[in-house]
């Protein structure tokens, strides 16, 4: 049989404020419990020691996905499966849909929240990579104030976020996409259920065949997910001609700082950043009907 969990105290706040007070009072000793997919597995593996869990599952008003003039809004309790089945996500935020759809376990998607996925702070997260390319903002609540920050600034390192004591994430905001936006998500995995060796999300906004704006987000190639800014520059203002795409892919590979681990060597990852970046832009070109 599987190992038991080590005992902990259990809190079930009814409001965000109550939750954040608990987080402030108990500090490092407690953790937020959302879907529990990652957290309980870590406790079972004895990777982390907790004295208490602050279960946010019964806080009303945190399970939603809706689109309005400010963009796509996702609550802290919205599961990956709810997002995968949302028509707004599938039709208007395809990049996010593709990333979630690439996760191969209905069980994980039924239980796991998108916010929980982001709060793990692993650079291999498919959800984080796609949301980075979509300029997502994290909505954060503390004991006495609320703030929001770009997802890009949310990560400080492997498993480290910018959350302060007493703070929790209440939701995600994905701004509206400008007209003419296209996206492509790609990941390289050994088996369909494994964690990515490299994952890439590209979003481009095209006007009259020219690339007005572009985001290239990369995962599993640095301590945090990263944007390949020099590669983006190589594409901005071009018509996505072949040379520009090759140049961008080369730059993306130069910008990353991958490691060697059980899944890949650093050299291989760097090479694959090049390949996947190029393929993602090519896919966008096909979808947008850009020739050349």
């Amino acid at each position: 049989m599987v190992r038991v969990l080590t005992p902990f105290e259990y809190f079930e706040p009814k409001t965000v404020e109550e939750a954040s007070n608990l987080l402030r009072d108990y500090g490092e000793k407690v953790r937020v419990l959302a879907g529990g997919v990652d957290l309980l597995a870590r406790i079972r593996r004895r990777e982390i020691q907790v004295e208490g869990l602050v279960c946010i599952q019964r806080i009303p008003g945190l399970d939603y996905v809706r689109q309005d003039s400010e963009g796509l809004k996702i609550g802290a309790l919205t599961t990956l499966r709810t997002l995968e089945r949302s028509q707004e996500v599938r039709e208007n935020y395809r990049l996010l849909f593709d990333a979630i759809h690439s996760i191969h376990s209905i069980q994980v998607k039924n239980m796991g929240t998108a916010v929980g996925n982001l709060c793990i702070a692993t650079p291999a997260s498919d959800v984080a990579v796609s949301l980075l390319a979509l300029d997502a903002q994290m909505k954060i609540a503390g004991p006495s104030s609320e703030r929001s920050m770009p997802l890009e600034n949310f990560y400080l390192g492997v498993k480290r976020t910018a959350l302060q004591p007493g703070e929790l994430v209440t939701g995600i905001l994905v701004p509206p996409l400008p007209k003419g936006s296209f996206g492509a998500f790609m990941k390289l995995v050994r088996t369909a259920t494994d964690i990515a060796k490299v994952n890439v999300a590209v979003r481009a906004t095209l006007r009259n065949g020219g690339c007005e704006e572009v985001r290239i987000a990369l995962g599993s190639v640095a301590p945090t997910i990263v944007r390949a800014r020099k590669a983006e520059e190589a594409l901005r203002g071009t018509r996505l001609e072949r040379e520009a795409v090759v140049e961008a892919a080369e730059r993306a590979a130069e910008e990353v700082n991958p490691i060697t681990d059980i899944r890949s060597t650093a050299e291989y990852r760097r090479e694959m950043v090049k390949v996947l970046t190029r393929r993602a832009v090519e896919k966008i070109k096909v979808e947008a009907g850009v020739k050349g």
Binding site: M1, V2, P7, V37, A41, C55, Q57, H104, I106
Partner: protein, 164 residues
């Protein structure tokens, strides 16, 4: 909250009152407290899917679910799939197609398949493959499992019922 506490659980339509501690998983409560040992446990970290049960109709990993968090939800385990001594059509199809080898993944496969057919009564092969991909069959009998689900789906559609 710390220490023992009595919670209400609804399992296979039956109400139960069980004493749990906060760190007890649904899997432990089902197997060790309620003696419902049809649900299996294996990896403990979400990779294998053999601990799958349905929580309000959705496949959940019972080894990563605290029992205390599913109080007042409806839980369906493999013991509750047959009704009035009649097998569910999926169960019959698994038998007829030889979709059971060692049997360890079977409860999870059946419940996951039931959730799929409740959601999508007419799935394609590819949709079945995707939906059951979170449950590992180490005998690797996937082909027969997929065939059994295809055939059960057809029969349930034809009969308009999940039972004969």
């Amino acid at each position: 909250m710390r220490g023992k506490q009595v919670i209400k659980l609804t399992v296979n339509g039956e109400p139960y009152e069980v004493e749990v501690e906060p760190h007890m998983t649904l899997l432990e409560v089902l197997r060790d407290k309620l003696n419902l040992t049809g649900t299996k446990g294996s990896c403990g970290v979400g990779e294998c899917g053999t601990c799958t049960v349905l929580v309000d109709g959705k496949p959940f990993l019972s080894c990563l679910t605290l029992a205390i968090t599913v109080r007042d939800k409806n839980i369906l385990t493999i013991e509750g799939l047959a009704r009035d001594k009649k097998l569910h059509i999926l169960q019959k199809a698994f038998l007829e197609h030889g979709a059971v080898q060692c049997g360890f993944c079977t409860p999870a496969m059946l419940l996951t398949a039931k959730a799929l057919l409740d959601e999508n009564p007419n799935p394609t092969r590819e949709e079945i493959r995707e939906y059951i991909s979170g449950v590992l069959c180490r005998c690797t009998g996937y082909v027969k499992i997929i065939e059994a689900i295809m055939s059960a789906a057809e029969e349930i559609r034809r009969r308009g019922s999940e039972y004969e």
